[in-house]
């Protein structure tokens, strides 16, 4: 159970010494409760307290990191069932499945490896490859390593995995898979080569039995494969595993791997896996038209819901604006942006929407904090070359910052500054009645 700020406070020295750089012990305790600071920052905490606090802070799901030459894919460390409760931390790695026997292996891997797609200013790519040992894995990995540096999942029986592991020594690949029939051999292999290991069974009971057995052999980095064969079964199994892990069932406190590559509708299965608790997702082939939406979905689901998300500042076109269409100004807090954009879009009225960089704050907050002032608005209007796009040099300010209109006029000579409504819902009426 996580402790509350007051509970933690009671375990602290309560001297308000400020050496942790917080003004009071309680302030520090609340930061600890929110996991925004390390206990180590307090020089005077007692050992007894340290012990109690450490217990409450241990992550219920082990962090498993796959590593290759300089790159890393992490899964685990999750603390909740629903993202709104806290956030989902480690985005599931998307792996493309390739066959060792594939004559075009190098080229296929290279193409997928080079893939890069930009989403609101961020570059996304795939995370690694799952190599099926249907031919000599050692040779295949040498080929793959000419084309990618990304981490690998190696799929095969103990015998076929061995040469692959030798070919990627120094890395931490993920092995597929230990089941009831080969658990000992796989565990030995993983231990020898410092690899992570997938444990495969078709019930939580069987999984827990296997993980305990393998853990006893000294392999810590495990990943669970619940071997579900339908959307329904996968949802049930993953939900059960996540819940049990969060209830501190250590034997199941590991990340989950999903294989949408075998599903009837790969896109749908992958989407469900991303939303519902998978830590690694294996896709059948490189298809940008599916990869792109999956990467975006993953980004969306793993966005911290406690933090306001930002929209890329810029000039947005709504309903195919013409040069004479109005220019609306707002901030880059995503809820603010969506509220404005949706209203205008819904009205069918064309407009230019200038989104200023207000560090992701809403209009009023940004104004209060000095992130949405005349200077910044003018900078946006000039920086985005709005004047080149419009015939009527007129901007509409949000009603909440009516006080800025004078200053904006000064900053933007030649522009007419109008004050719009306070709330986005009133924009369509304003645009219809006032602007025409």
């Amino acid at each position: 159970m996580a402790l509350s700020g007051i509970q933690i406070y009671k375990l602290l020295p309560q001297t308000n010494c400020k050496e942790c750089s917080f003004p009071t012990c309680l302030a520090f305790a609340m930061k600890l409760a929110a996991k925004q600071v390390e206990l180590g920052a307090c020089p005077y905490v007692s050992d007894e307290s340290k012990k109690q606090l450490a217990e409450s802070a241990a992550p219920p799901i082990r962090l498993v990191a796959l590593k290759s030459n300089g790159t890393e894919v992490k899964a685990g460390n999750e603390v909740c069932l629903f993202r709104h409760e806290k956030t989902f931390y480690n985005k599931p790695g998307l792996f493309i499945r390739v066959k060792a026997s594939d004559p075009d292996l190098a080229q296929k891997v290279a193409t997928a490896d080079a893939y890069k797609v930009n989403y609101v200013g961020m570059d996304f790519s795939i995370d690694g490859f799952a190599v099926l040992a249907d031919a000599d894995l050692g040779t295949a990995i040498k080929t793959i390593r000419t084309a990618t540096k990304r981490p690998l999942i190696l799929m095969g029986d103990p015998a076929s995995l061995q040469p692959g592991l030798l070919a990627c020594s120094g890395e931490t690949p993920l092995l597929y898979a230990a089941d009831a029939s080969n658990a000992d051999a796989m565990a030995d292999l993983a231990k020898t080569h410092k690899a992570a290991l997938i444990v495969k069974a078709d019930s939580p009971d069987a999984l827990a039995e296997l993980t305990q057995k393998i853990q006893a052999k000294g392999v810590e980095d495990l990943v669970l494969d619940a071997s579900a064969t339908s959307l329904s079964a996968a949802l049930t199994r993953n939900t059960q595993l996540r819940r049990l892990a969060l209830k501190n069932m250590r034997a199941l406190g590991y990340p989950i791997i999903a294989f949408p590559c075998d599903a009837k509708d790969e896109g749908i299965a992958a989407a469900q896996a991303i939303a519902k608790y998978a830590g690694f997702v294996v896709l059948s082939e490189f298809k940008p038209e599916l990869l792109y939406p999956l990467l975006v979905l993953r980004e969306n689901i793993y966005t911290d819901p406690q933090k306001p998300i930002q929209v890329q500042p810029g000039i947005y076109e709504i309903n195919a604006p013409k040069p004479e269409s109005p220019v609306l100004v707002t901030t880059n807090f995503s809820i603010t942006y969506f509220a404005v954009a949706n209203e205008v879009e819904g009205s069918g009225l064309p407009a230019w929407l200038v989104v200023t960089d207000a560090e992701g704050m809403s209009v009023l907050t940004a104004w209060a904090a000095g992130k949405f002032d005349a200077e910044r608005i003018a900078k946006a209007i000039k920086g985005f070359n709005v004047a080149d796009k419009v015939s009527k040099k007129r901007i509409i300010l949000p009603g909440h910052v009516a006080v800025l209109s004078g200053e904006v006029e000064e900053e933007l000579p030649g522009w007419e500054v109008r004050v719009g409504p306070r709330e986005a819902v009133d924009l369509p009426a304003f645009m219809k009645q006032v602007l025409n």
Binding site: V117, E209, A339, V425
Partner: protein, 314 residues
């Protein structure tokens, strides 16, 4: 090692709500559709069965929407010129419900005629949306509600600024309402309370929490829906309504779906991507509790329908 699988037992449940009325029930629909009724989170069959599966509605319009993506125009073709034809094709494409969206250009006569022709052409239960402007919505929806008394249509869309007229006419004529709020748990509850306070029976409200599309705020919609569903199961009566969402509308206005030219190559094949966009948006919402998903493209309908079939089997 036998493990005790933790099961949630919730005090609350989602209301089962029936859309459309057959002749026996005072309408003309071939059959009615019931949604909701869940007693646990979506598709956790080990806790409780899914009493009613989510339903796919296909959105058609009273006039051909020239601003829709070429991919949609191409797939529906000529049928878009006649809402009755379009309705038939939508039913063939696998819709369980129809949404007829009216436009600002429609006169009262046009709108009533369009609704009647759709009702005549298809036996599916019907949802009717006004054009989305308060005055026009009220002007069109009141006569439609009166002309279709007893059909148990869903009338939309009620928003906090404009709900009274629609709710009043729905109450008077035995219809349901769709209550839409912008991605916020509290606003959603508030509108439901205001509508219930008018005396609207609670089994005649569908809530529309607004979702955003993949890449365009779906994370808000997703979490709002999860939270609404959790609140409902915890016993909050004002969130115990089935949810209707519009991934078709949301997805097809994104650049990713709508356009095929002048976009990055890394987006991949246009049509496949566009349908993925709509399908994945819809699936994410179904996973978070959607009861009615309104779609636009027949291929998305097929994929989502198959997936629902897979999800509802224990």
């Amino acid at each position: 090692m036998p493990i005790d699988i933790p099961k949630d037992k919730w005090p609350g449940s989602i209301r089962a709500i029936t859309i459309g009325a057959t002749s026996a029930e005072g309408g003309t629909r071939a059959k009615s559709i019931t949604v909701g009724g869940q007693t646990t989170l979506p598709y956790l069959h080990f806790e409780a069965p899914t009493p009613n599966q989510p339903v796919i509605a296909i959105e058609i319009k009273s006039r051909k929407p020239e601003d829709w993506s070429p991919l949609l125009l191409e797939t529906w073709g000529e049928a878009m010129n006649d809402s009755a034809q379009w309705a038939k094709k939508a039913e063939e494409a696998g819709a369980g419900l129809l949404v007829l969206a009216l436009t600002v250009e429609d006169s009262v006569e046009d709108a009533v005629k369009a609704v009647k022709s759709v009702l005549a052409a298809s036996g599916l239960p019907l949802i009717v949306w006004g054009p989305g402007q308060a005055e026009k919505d009220n002007e069109l929806l009141v006569p439609i509600a009166e002309a279709t008394k007893g059909e148990k249509l869903v009338l939309g869309i009620c928003e906090d600024k404009n709900y009274r007229t629609i709710v009043a006419t729905a109450m008077a004529n035995g219809h349901l309402v769709q209550a839409r709020t912008p991605m916020d748990v509290n606003l959603s509850k508030q509108l439901n309370i205001l509508i219930s306070d008018m005396g609207m029976p609670k089994d005649r409200i569908l809530m529309d929490p607004t979702t955003g599309a993949l890449g365009y705020g779906i994370e808000y919609g997703y979490s709002v829906m999860e939270r609404l569903r959790l609140a409902a199961l915890q016993g909050d009566a004002m969130t115990q309504f089935p949810m209707i969402v519009t991934p078709g509308f949301e997805a097809w206005k994104t650049k990713e779906s709508k356009v095929g030219e002048g976009v990055p190559e890394s987006w991949g094949d246009w049509k496949a991507r566009a349908i993925n966009w709509e399908t994945l948006t819809a699936m994410a919402l179904i996973e978070s509790g959607a009861d009615v998903v309104v779609l636009r493209h027949p291929e998305s309908v097929k994929r989502v329908k198959d997936a629902i079939g897979e999800l509802v089997i224990a």
